[in-house]
Symmetry: C2
Subunit: 320 residues, 2 copies
């Protein structure tokens, strides 16, 4: 297996240790929970997390202006409720805790159990579930993907503004109704625990509508030029989006060079322009990856002043 | 060819257009020269560049606190002297221009010709040549790689401090004596103009001492675990480095997920610690890439207060 790892069992702990070395303002508690060294003294605390392998999500966003804690499961595996509870207890300052959870059965269940346990200890906790991946038709079953990072930044800003828990939850849920993502891949991620690729794909094929855990896509097709790929993804997105003024994230899946992501941006711009959409803000880079998968996703959110202010507000995270 | 491109001939122009869309404070002149929209009114202007395919280098560093212009050649191809001259003339404000050039014959020749032409027009120009790649024994022939980005940041800081051209040049040259890099690759980059990989490599092999243009390395070897790889690279670096207090960059080659770069950091830390080196500052991410090559490089520089201040000074570049 060609991977920069020591062995299959130490991927998570080695990765977190490296992350901590490179980011002196975080620390790791209970082996797999990343928190800020300087705990926020007041304001709603934000906790996210899930399986690892999506770096910089989620641990890279633990920083002033974004998250207060990230609960890191093994690669593509939900963290356990006790770890989520530890995160909640570590960051709560009395103003309550918002859990930002991607819509996967394990994550939803384990974060919910932790919420119940925390509430029994008298901590005020609310949860928002991110379901931005439109490759699944049933809205309730939609997975949380790159749009989650927009939520981290938006909620982080609202918390810095001193808004109370219920208000932040309401605003985030209002935003989430209209955050939509769709992704594609040229290659599958190789899962370190098995040494196997998430799916098999030929040298002349691509997947449209992939997930971020090596799940196959909606469609397997011959590779096309980037403008054609963007058109297909864009057509799927525009079935869901009414706003003509939008924020767009072009997210790399982990092994996509910035050279190519920039090319994607050009064609996304041309496509949206041809459809009368006005892009107010671009977010381009690796925000929510899937190990070494080559490909990208497009996330779209209706633009409004507060969201633009939030996306451009200062954060100490070097990954946003 | 599996690449997110429209066609082979439009890679550079499409990439620059996307970069400009995503970064509203830059503009493109003469098709391939990236400059800041707000020209620096005083202080030494910094110009770098070279072949493209190393994104975010160099165009992504055109921002307050780093470069004033980047001259972008086609993928892995030197820009022509007339473009370099255009960059110099666009950014000079009377305080002179420093050219930061990686040591490749074409780059050195073309930047030198541009310098001569600019001097004939009365512009004060100096050049520094980066030769940080220790995989080549002859120091004069050493290539410029990721260490170049440390120079961009250091020189950008010195320029913001208002230092005159000769002083910035002297300080950068003093730094460059001790900036050393070495890289490795699991895969070769695929060159879009030919649709061919830079070199052939088997599924169980790696290259030690690669360049950033698809050049083969010093050695072809069976893949090993990351701690063993780091040890080999570290042993080569330590032959060249005397300082015990260092700045370390762990640079991704374009298709290396942050998950794995963080693991590399852990083992680089352990290796240097075992050798009595103290890492004062980590820089971890994709700084100087080679299209979609999987692999990483380690760059080391002696730490001193001014360099640390420079590396942590504000820049508007979102890629540093």
């Amino acid at each position: 297996m060609k991977k920069l790892i020591k062995d299959r069992t130490s991927v998570l702990s080695d990765m977190l240790e490296g992350l901590k070395l490179a980011n002196s303002d975080i620390e790791i508690i209970e082996d797999t929970v990343v928190v800020r060294k300087e705990k926020k003294a007041k304001g709603v605390a934000l906790v996210s997390g899930g399986g690892s392998g999506h770096e910089p999500a989620h641990a890279g966003y633990v920083a002033k202006g974004m998250l207060d804690a990230a609960v890191c499961g093994e690669i593509f595996t939900s963290p356990t409720p006790d770890k989520v509870l530890s995160a909640i207890k570590a960051v709560d300052n009395g103003d309550g805790v918002l859990l930002i959870v991607k819509n996967y059965a394990g994550d939803v269940m384990n974060f919910e159990m932790a919420q119940e346990m925390a509430e029994m200890e008298g901590i005020q906790v609310e949860t928002v579930i991110v379901r931005d991946d439109i490759s699944i038709e049933d809205v309730e079953k939609r997975r949380g993907v790159a749009g989650t990072v927009i939520v981290h930044k938006y909620a982080g800003f609202l918390s810095e503004q001193g808004l109370p828990l219920n208000e932040i939850k309401d605003k985030v849920e209002q935003l989430l109704v209209d955050v939509k993502s769709i992704g594609m891949a040229l290659t599958a991620p190789m899962i370190p625990s098995t040494g196997q690729n998430g799916f098999d794909i030929q040298d002349d094929e691509m997947e449209i509508g992939i997930g971020i855990h090596g799940e196959k896509g909606l469609q397997r097709k011959p590779v096309e030029s980037v403008d054609k790929i963007v058109e297909q993804l864009g057509d799927l997105l525009l079935k869901e989006v009414e706003s003509k003024s939008v924020v767009v994230m072009v997210n790399g899946m982990g092994a996509t060079p910035l050279t190519e992501l920039n090319i994607v941006v050009k064609y996304v711009h041309e496509y949206f322009q041809s459809k009368g959409l006005n892009v107010q803000q671009w977010l381009v880079g690796d925000y929510m990856t899937s190990l070494n998968m080559e490909g990208f996703s497009i996330t779209i959110a209706p633009s409004h002043d507060e969201l633009l202010t939030a996306l451009n507000a200062h954060t100490e995270s070097r990954y946003f």
